[in-house]
């Protein structure tokens, strides 16, 4: 159940948001129409007027969630705030006389559960997953304890990038600032493009853009800025993608996964590890009391 919920939150938060909308309206109507019966059910002694007010709030949230497709995230946050209010009210009810503690505890647990779903769903909606066909910009930075010159020199040799960029299969230098890039796709389907350096400032920055005829229209820039106080160099990466619709776009979306920022962050960390320690930290290949040496849920999720 939990797993199924997590999966649908991942793949389709809109659907869950709609379900929460209907849930809001149902609960809200019950609160408005039968405040006394509802109070009895949850074991609280609350005045019917107050319960009706709570009901009105629920209904408003529900209508908002169902009718305003662009504002779902905001209405979900309103639901989370409402959940907090409910929890507070239930907490107060527990300490009052004549409360049905068992029922109140059940109601509290139920509200807590719904709060969790609301919160997760709101968090999911606030993330901007990569949709095929939409342009996307990713920015990330990291500080590496080396001089700009050394880092620039490593990076400028594009053929070395697959050493730490997981999703690159190979980059070949074609000369004159041109290079050919191959990214690993799912099921052996690769995405390829040619790139041209458009600006190259030694020890400072490199900018490139893909050339006509590429599978994916993309551009990038990496800058090397000395960190203050002699603390090495800040590497700032900015990548822009404008993938086509259709099959290649879909493949590319899969390569980037749900959270492109995460992948750039992981790649930069690997780069830092390689430069600072001479190796990339890993557990792949270690023993474990299961068939895989790493955890597919946790390790493979962040490292893939």
């Amino acid at each position: 159940m939990q797993n199924r919920l997590r999966k649908s939150l991942k793949s389709n938060p809109e659907q869950i948001a709609n379900a929460l909308g209907w849930f809001s309206i149902g609960l809200g109507l019950a609160e408005i129409l039968a405040p006394r019966a509802l109070s009895r059910l949850i074991g609280a002694k609350a005045s019917p007027g107050v319960v009706r007010l709570y009901g009105a709030r629920e209904v408003a949230c529900g209508i908002g969630l169902l009718s305003q497709a662009q504002e779902k995230e905001r209405w979900l946050k309103a639901r989370v705030a409402g959940d907090a209010l409910d929890l507070f009210a239930l907490g107060n009810a527990m300490t009052s006389n004549g409360a049905g503690r068992g029922r109140l505890a059940l109601a509290t647990a139920a509200v807590a559960g719904v709060t969790a779903v609301d919160t997760l769903c709101a968090a999911r909606m606030s993330r901007r997953p990569f949709h095929k066909g939409e342009p996307l910009t990713v920015r990330k930075s990291i500080t590496v304890g080396r001089g700009a010159e050394e880092l620039y020199r490593f990076w400028r040799d594009f053929e070395q990038l697959p050493k730490f960029m997981n999703h690159l299969q190979a980059v070949s230098d074609l000369g004159n600032g041109r290079s050919h890039w191959v990214a690993k796709g799912p099921a052996g389907v690769n995405v390829e493009w040619d790139a041209q350096i458009i600006e190259d400032k030694p020890n400072e920055s490199i900018a490139w853009t893909s050339l006509a005829g590429s599978d994916v229209d993309n551009a990038g820039e990496v800058r090397f800025v000395p960190a203050p106080g002699g603390r090495g160099t800040v590497i700032r990466v900015e990548l822009r993608y404008n993938p086509p619709a259709g099959k290649v776009g879909a493949t590319f979306a899969k390569i980037l996964g749900e959270a492109p920022e995460k992948q750039v962050a992981v790649d930069l960390l690997r780069f830092k590890q390689m430069i600072e320690t001479g190796e990339i930290a890993r557990t792949e290949g270690q023993p474990a009391g299961r068939s895989h040496s790493t955890s597919r849920r946790f390790d493979d999720f962040v490292r893939a």
Partner: protein, 389 residues
Amino acid sequence: MKANCWYGKHDMRVEDVPEPKILNPRDAIVRVTLSAICGSDLHLYDGFVPTMEKGDILGHEFMGEVVEVGSAVKNLQVGDRVVVPFCISCGSCFSCQKGLFSLCENSNPNAVEAELLWGHSPAGLFGYSHLTGGYAGGQAQYVRVPFADVGPVKVPENLRDEQALFISDIFPTGYMAAENCNIQPGDTIAVWGCGPVGQMTIRSAYLLGAERVIAIDRVPERLRMAEDGGAEVINYEEVDSLMEELKDRTGGRGPDACVDAVGMEANGHGMQYRYDRAKQAIMLETDRPIALREAMLSCRNGGTLSVPGVYGGFIDKIPFGSVMNRSLTIKTGQTHMQRYMRPLLERIQKGEIDPSFVITHRMDLEDAPEGYKIFKDKEDECIKVVLTP
């Protein structure tokens, strides 16, 4: 080889697993001769640490013999007898250079995951969930030690395994907890929790010049062990108000520094305990900070709060007004092991302390699950379990 694996809450099993291999040039493989169950392992056992996976090999307190080294390890040789720190540190990043080894920027391959929960990532740890790297631990016959040129310390021949083992975690952890108290002549240090780390903190506080140490627990044999270490003790179940008792014993002022050596699964009594237990059960908070709250309120004005106890996530009803208005200093962190291992080994060698006093149970690795159980339930006056593979 045999390894103690986690399969879920209260479900440990010793399984046959493949032997570890060298995976990186700075790795070493150690044949474990002695390991221990740490109090923080109980948080894994009780299922309170997120991102555990069925089959994870546990254990971060271990020592043994080097049986293989990677091509980049020059300071160790096959046959060396070493004790290994629980935190994995590269030795060259910004944190390691500052001596903040448990915050190594390079050793956690899952740093991006840890950032989601904690904002930034600490170092990789042996056998302590996938948030801290998912590294296989040392409750096993063999273990792979990454960055072996930085972590493991050779053990002098004249020390027995049991004397050196706790250099892997609890002695440095108790020592750093005491060091974090910034002990001045005349200071009284109060220590919540008389488990193994609390015991090491008591003795370290005296090594660092504390005038008095007051130890707080409810388990008679742990209080007795604290007394053996020179502490005055309080059984919190036998006093009306712990805070009043502490005030009374410190001339109304409160202890100069308070140490929370309990962490996220504090016990207590009355409403406060029930409140935290309930909120933890329905996931509205992840940790029960009962000792922490008490330590905050009890500490003297301008005093120091030192927190070696492990917390995982979120805590509730923290009297931060008290902390702010009374100018308390909070010092905490996973122990920066490599800073302390050599100096503390020297203290053991000089006979200033023998940390093996804390051992109450010696068991075979095969019996690790039973060891967890009696340690958790404090059966048979259990305070510390060591395991021989």
